[in-house]
Symmetry: C2
Subunit: 255 residues, 2 copies
Amino acid sequence: MSQSVTACVIVIGNEILSGRTQDINLNHIATTLGGWGIQVHHARVIPDDEDIIVNTINEVRGSYDYVFTTGGIGPTHDDITAVCIAKAFGVPIVQHPDIEERIRQRPAPDDVMASRLLMARVPEGAALIDNPSGGPQGFAMENVHVMAGIPRVMQAMLSTLEGELTTGPVIRSHTVRAYTGESSIADALALIQQNHPDADIGSYPFLREDRYGTHIVIRSSDVDLLRRIADAVMEAVQDIGETPEDLGLDADASA
Amino acid sequence: MSQSVTACVIVIGNEILSGRTQDINLNHIATTLGGWGIQVHHARVIPDDEDIIVNTINEVRGSYDYVFTTGGIGPTHDDITAVCIAKAFGVPIVQHPDIEERIRQRPAPDDVMASRLLMARVPEGAALIDNPSGGPQGFAMENVHVMAGIPRVMQAMLSTLEGELTTGPVIRSHTVRAYTGESSIADALALIQQNHPDADIGSYPFLREDRYGTHIVIRSSDVDLLRRIADAVMEAVQDIGETPEDLGLDADASA
């Protein structure tokens, strides 16, 4: 199997930690990157605190191929991400002419413009991430990609990175549904996992219309391997007298 | 202000990192603990990997008053949380008689029962967290609380901890809505924040029925202080010719 490419997601924002806002950015980033062949291996949610942001970025940026942050790049006092990334990399913060140009396209009184121009600040040497939603761009500093917190804007920014990043094999999934308690097939699944260390077999119980069941999700970049393991899982479910359903490749069975 | 009590949430599960499952546990835990007077200051999402789980638990458990984990306590091979917590604390894993008793109440063939009894394993010395949803209990090892990943079950477990934990002041919020771009009030908000370092002022832009606006959320345990800051924010919005809406205490304006 060729080398996997990994990512870490850092969600920045007091509003996520307080519970005011339900984060949906991690899920979108994980799904999108996964489809490109980049695996999210780690995620953190941290507050709008300079020391914590700087230390977190420096702790993770060497451990993953890519880091993606969301949040804290607006024009108010609690938007400190750009300054923190500059500190993490030990470079000055500068006003980027391309972001400035975009911001100045929409006229505003001087004091308002001054606040809006705070969004033009990037660490020296950063590359821009375009923002098809029309607002100021995000930026990348080495392997750290800094995006907006508003999901619609973040999604627009992320979409522009398609084809721009180093990618590895795409991990596919194959799902089998069984209306049985997990314990009834636990031994068989453990044995199948043991025999196939290159794939990742997960079991996710659910309750649907008063029936207990479990989704067995097999993950690997090797579609033939997935088929063989799925067959073994189907057989294991039949062995205990139940009728498995083969939901096939990349099924959305997240119930 | 009396000492705040802090928590760290560790979401354990490949299915969250792959994007298969949208996590909703962090939000519920943050909201629930916040209501009790415990502030979630940090959260991580990590894979079902023994070394990573053990190291993460040992990294965070000394830095927060409480750690809450979700996921990985079922009966299958990928449910390794209990074993990892025991390793993190350097104690053996033992079968807890109370969990065993609950599991044995529902008869099963020997091999199935053997798998189900894996859910009775806890680190030696752990206390149980009851599970009103009827399944096996969770457990707490010192300040680390280990709960199920299925939201309904996790919520049931967490609810039993009400009144059992050390709590600090409850952080209240006061929200002002303004139909204005953030940049128009950024300077005023920064000044208000500077004048009130004991409160946390956040600005969260939104787009609603084609109108841009922002929610200014002030957070503090001091309700009188919140009122004074909210008044200052209302005035700042009026100063730029807009009409603010006072959404009041603990408003749910998470749009």
